[in-house]
């Protein structure tokens, strides 16, 4: 199935089409941030606060209002999309990479290496993920890349498990056995048979995983161990103003909506992708 076909099939569902549009919009806005943001995201405007120091509600000058330092919330959300997406993509990329490596090696090589690798994932599964992430963040003193790394360290485990069972399922199929008897090398089997069959699963997880990552980044920032100020991320915009939701609703509402919508979109697309690409699930529903 070619890429355009996949996209066309995905767009049959209205919600998925809307999600795709939303994701593309967020990515474009993030990439074009310097051109689309109306203000400097870190500029603390003197008239961005009332004389008593309260943030301004949405108005003509600051479309979504200002934050507690008198900065333009819209511009911070636009630049925050950059941060959240970078972390989402990098963290998830690393997680998928580690997860696939571990899952494939464990499932394909088996033996001692496989056992040790899978026991390692069992060990990681026994950790409460959030506590592990907080401890790691405390040691490594977060920058945007460290936060991405921390999230990857926590999130690869799920991927490894799924890839592991897929690998086992695929390598037990007949055609692999046939290849083997025909004398194909391990590497050949790996690259020309196993990986292409794993690709759909990997793509599905890559999409669904971004949603998890964006949420975890937000939670880490909410707990004060995320991206360092003044760099905006959707999570730390909320962290800075979390208690103000009764007096300045826009400070929590807009970034909150942004997080939920982006996570929702990735989830919907990932789910549709699974229906589309994963033959074992096809035909359901």
């Amino acid at each position: 199935m070619s890429f355009p076909t996949v996209i066309r099939n995905l767009c049959r569902h209205k919600s998925v089409a809307v999600s795709l549009v939303l994701i593309v919009t967020v990515i474009s806005v993030a990439v074009l941030a310097p051109w689309v943001a109306p203000h400097d995201p870190n500029m603390q405007y003197f008239d961005g606060l009332t004389m008593e120091g309260a943030p301004l509600p949405p108005n003509d000058e600051f479309l979504l209002g200002t934050d507690l330092l008198g900065r333009d919330l819209l511009s911070r959300l636009i630049y925050g999309a950059q941060t959240s997406l970078i972390i989402g993509i990098v963290a998830n990329g690393i997680a998928i990479l580690i997860g696939t490596l571990v899952g494939v090696s464990a499932g394909f090589i088996r033996g001692w290496t496989g056992t040790i690798l899978m026991r390692l994932t069992d060990l990681m599964m026994a950790f409460p993920a959030l506590l592990l992430a907080i401890a790691l963040a405390a040691i490594l003193q977060p920058s945007i890349w460290i936060v991405a790394l921390v999230i990857a360290m926590v999130n690869w485990v799920q991927v490894a498990r799924v890839i592991y069972s897929e690998t086992i399922a695929i390598s037990s199929r007949e055609f692999i056995a046939v290849e083997r008897t025909l004398g194909a090398s391990t590497l050949r089997i790996l690259f020309s048979h196993l990986l292409p069959h794993l690709l759909p699963t990997i793509m599905v997880w890559a999409t669904l995983g971004i949603s998890t990552t964006v949420l975890l980044e937000a939670t880490l920032s909410f707990l004060g161990v995320g991206v360092q100020p003044p760099t905006p991320s959707w999570g730390n915009i909320i962290f800075e103003s979390q208690t103000y939701f009764t007096s300045a609703f826009w400070l929590v509402l807009f970034p909150g909506l942004a997080i939920i919508l982006l996570a929702l979109s990735f989830n919907l697309v990932g789910d549709a992708l699974r229906d589309e690409l994963d033959p074992s699930l096809k035909g359901r529903g």
Partner: protein
């Protein structure tokens, strides 16, 4: 067969916990904050700090510290909190009850909402109701706990006054935090129940049952549901780690006196013995939940029996 399997799993669980304790201890050892300095306070001389460090054994090399910790752990001694100076085991046991209560209700709601919505969606498959419910389930799993908790607290407790403003004690107190946890977590369950139910609905024995003239509801509850619910059990085991993460946030927002709140306070103050203790307890919970789930699946899977007949 079964007892040997259980024993092997138990031995394996102990190994896992050993690994968890080692990694946690190592991580916290690496955090750049000196407990002795925290204890000694700002007016302490360097000697006092050194003295306290020696008393706590913090001047020993890492492997010795860990060994001592492990030896104490085997005797059930989790050490003393650096901040509260109370035994960690006492702190944990005082908060275990509330956390179990919230977890029981939270997981209960999660299953109740997840399974019933999943069933409904499966029956009404490919209708507007199905699509709406599935979209809803995604909104749940896409919402961070902190946003939902704050929103619910503000909306239902402050504005509408339907629930008390956080706190602990009566049933009304547990309701809102448990519902928050349940609503957000139910999404995965409803999706899972929906797809496994659709699978079961299409199987032969169901068709047979129907053709025998059994009522629709009877088929649904006697034959379809028990089969469809099997994959939910291991899911609870996997979910529990994520659920604990949600507890940390929900307990802090709702002022629930549980382990999550304890963990969050300990993390903020770098109270290492408490953090290690709570992590260990959570790991024990996760390992036990998975163990039970694995043991339960073959016991409850009705397909095995049906196959026989």
């Amino acid at each position: 067969m079964m007892p040997i399997y259980i024993l092997r799993r138990l031995g394996y669980a102990v190994l896992i916990l050993l690994g968890v304790s080692f990694i946690t201890y190592l991580l916290l050892y690496m955090i750049p904050a000196d407990p002795a300095r925290q204890l000694a306070g700002r007016s302490a001389t360097a000697e006092t700090v050194a003295n306290i460090r020696a008393q706590l054994g913090l001047d020993l090399p890492f492997y010795q510290q860990y060994f001592h910790y492990l030896m104490n752990l085997i005797q059930g001694d989790l050490g003393r909190s650096y901040i509260q100076r109370t035994e960690v085991s006492a702190l944990i046991s005082s908060r275990l009850g509330p956390t179990m209560e919230l977890m029981a209700w939270g997981i209960g709601f999660e299953l109740l909402i997840g399974v019933s919505l999943g069933m409904l969606a499966a029956i009404k498959r490919n209708t507007a109701i199905d699509r709406f419910l599935m979209a809803l389930s995604f909104v749940g799993v896409s919402s961070p706990h902190f946003i939902a908790s704050m929103l619910f607290l503000y909306l239902f407790a402050v504005n509408l006054d339907w629930f008390p403003l956080g706190g602990y004690g009566e049933f009304e107190h547990v309701l809102l935090p448990a519902l928050t946890l349940g609503l957000l977590g139910s999404g995965w369950y409803s999706r899972m129940v929906r797809s496994s139910m659709i699978e079961v609905l299409e199987q032969d024995f169901i068709r047979t049952a129907r053709s025998k003239g059994l009522t629709r509801l009877r088929v649904l509850f006697r034959h379809v549901l028990p089969n469809a619910i099997v994959p939910v059990i291991p899911m609870i085991g996997i979910d529990i780690g994520i659920f604990i993460g949600g507890l940390v946030v929900v307990e802090s927002v709702f002022g629930w006196p549980g382990l999550g709140q304890l963990a969050w306070q300990a993390i903020q103050r770098v109270d290492i013995p408490v953090i290690v203790g709570v992590t260990m307890i959570s790991a024990v919970a996760i390992v036990i939940a998975n163990l039970i789930a694995d043991l339960l699946v073959p016991l409850v899977d009705p397909r095995i029996e049906l196959d026989k007949s």
